[in-house]
Point group: C2
Chain length 317, copies 2
């Protein structure tokens, strides 16, 4: 085993993502000590029972003390409160990061509270499942998945490189971009698809009783996997939509404009417009296959393309 | 091997569905002879090379002659023309059926052309893949999938039972309902999900070049499997939307109404509305799991729930 990259790693929040980081960091010997904090006694007890860390606390300030790397793993709407709580106890030179599915808002929430002399490197691992809590974590979650870092210009290069090395060591491919660009790309690849899935399942749930029963019965004709997406954690997704509002509304505007013109084509019996779109969308599919971003195995983005055996329930957000 | 259910089976159209029926009927010894017709020389030659039938023809009237069961397996928009072509050569007492993903329109297109004394039993097997043509077929396609029959009131019961027995013998679960009810249920479980998938992939395809590249790169975050659906056959899907217009527009109206109210909630920062919906949609997912309509394996409706190993590319329409 090589020298650990970091001394103490503190995880603020120990749900699916936090526990997966703990397990992966331990497996690869990347840190010499793991300190775990969560809000509720119940979750902390699960973390203890699972042996995820070395020290445990309900107090964020306490847990963040003397840490070399702090990763905040809570719903994005809780970022500001966490930053306020841990700021006073951060060690000069420490790296502070997060895993939130939205980046601009997290930067706006946390940045003002962080003292000089610490390195703030926001991150988003594009890996997940629709399950939550410390029991859902597993060390392989990040293997072959992307992790996007969004440091501000002028951030200490050594700190960025060190965090990138951490993510690479637990199997991720690292990419650096601006928070705004991240939020726009994720709006279209992840947030709008989830919103649509929630919406269509909601529409079906409101159907007359006799139709609703048959929707369930014949769900295999396409609807079924929308229901899987629409079973994702409500708190996490509420926060994503509230905190990536601008990009989501922008993309949603484009989506509904396009849908309106499709609706018009159907109403007018304009088969050429439908055929043209249905042909054009095939090119995007081919690009994804060419880029090695999918295999022949359908799994709704739950397994890395490189593995793609479709037997686990991963679903990156 | 038991006595065959039918003498001659004629398949009009020998793409994915037709070839799968041919292979399954042969495997289970359900017919004594298979006659195959398709429009193009090229497809007919593939059918011959694959040994799918006993006799082959480019002429529908010729192929339908002396058949005991005729199954029309062409895009739903071609149903009327096919009915006109085969009507004169139908044998009294023959059963004529189809596999179209839309039912009311098929009935309207075919019924007026069919002579008295034959039994018309429309059908829709909810099983498929995004691949087309005779090479895509396989005998197991219908195993553990639903096949919906939509006979008019007054149709000969023995004929309906015999067709049901045929579908059961190749592995399907049979359900009988009206064409209108079928079209409404399939609009929400299959047609709208496909329309939405085509639409979001189209929206992404129209993005600025730099974003489009990243959509492909980060497609694993949810977008990826929408692209798989949106790679489905353009002709088949154009015909479905043109021929299930009323039900599709009705359901699309409900969908966009709901989406507009979600959009409003996001714009106003109304987290409670989002949270309430995201919680409610979980119940539908639970119902589907309870009904045994899905397993833990994500595959976007491509494999029967009973198997659900996610390693083939089935996608029912
Ligand atoms: N799940 C995914 O697919 C995925 C993928 C990539 C990124 N992410 C991001 O990762 C983060 C965590 O997601 P997760 O799936 O790990 O969530 P999770 O399993 O639900 O765990 C959430 C953790 O945050 C704590 N927490 C919840 N609300 C809080 C609040 N208001 N204040 C302080 N702590 C709070 C919870 O504490 P208690 O249990 O003690 O209440 C728990 O420790 C989110 O920002 C999400 O956007 C998720
Ligand atoms: N694929 C699915 O997922 C699925 C599932 C359930 C039901 N269905 C229904 O099954 C039917 C067939 O679908 P498929 O997937 O088997 O299609 P396919 O693989 O594309 O095969 C279509 C067949 O129909 C023929 N055809 C196409 N256009 C025609 C026209 N205008 N006139 C006469 N013949 C024509 C083709 O002949 P040539 O090749 O010789 O031109 C070919 O033999 C459709 O009604 C579809 O709605 C499909």
């Amino acid at each position: 085993m090589t020298e650990p990259l970091f001394g103490r790693l503190t995880l603020i929040g120990i749900g699916l993502i936090g526990s997966s980081i703990a397990l992966a960091a331990k497996r690869h010997g990347l840190v010499s000590e793991i300190s775990i904090q969560t809000r509720s006694k119940k979750t902390l007890e699960r973390a203890i029972a699972l042996g995820l860390g070395d020290t445990y606390s309900l107090d964020p300030a306490e847990a963040a003390k003397v840490a070399d790397l702090i990763i905040v793993c809570v719903p994005v709407g809780a970022s500001e409160e966490v930053a306020q709580q841990i700021a006073p106890s951060l060690k000069p030179g420490a790296i502070i990061s997060d895993v939130g599915s939205v980046k601009s808002s997290v930067v706006q929430q946390m940045r003002p509270h962080l003292p000089n002399g610490i390195h703030f490197v926001p991150a988003h691992p594009i890996a997940g499942t629709e399950h939550s809590g410390p029991d859902a974590g597993f060390a392989e979650l990040f293997e072959n998945r992307w992790c996007i870092l969004t440091p501000e210009e002028g951030t200490d290069k050594a700190a960025v490189d060190k965090l990138a090395a951490f993510w690479r060591a637990i199997g991720a491919n690292v990419e650096v971009m601006s928070p705004e660009h991240h939020d726009l790309v994720l709006a279209i690849t992840s947030h709008i698809p989830h919103l649509i899935a929630y919406n269509i399942v909601g529409t079906a749930a409101d159907m007359e009783e006799n139709v609703r029963q048959e929707v369930i019965k014949f769900s295999a004709s396409g609807f079924r996997d929308f229901t899987r997406i629409a079973a994702s954690d409500p708190t996490m997704w509420r926060d994503i939509f509230l905190h990536n509002k601008d990009a989501v509304l922008e993309m949603l505007g484009r989506f509904t404009e396009d849908l309106t013109s499709l609706q018009r084509a159907i109403r007018r019996g304009d088969g050429d417009t439908l055929f043209e779109l249905f042909t054009r969308t095939r090119a995007i599919r081919r690009n994804i296959l060419d880029a090695g971003q999918d295999t022949a195995v359908p799994d709704f983005g739950r397994t890395p393309a490189a593995k793609g055996h479709g037997t686990t329930e991963k679903n990156g957000a």
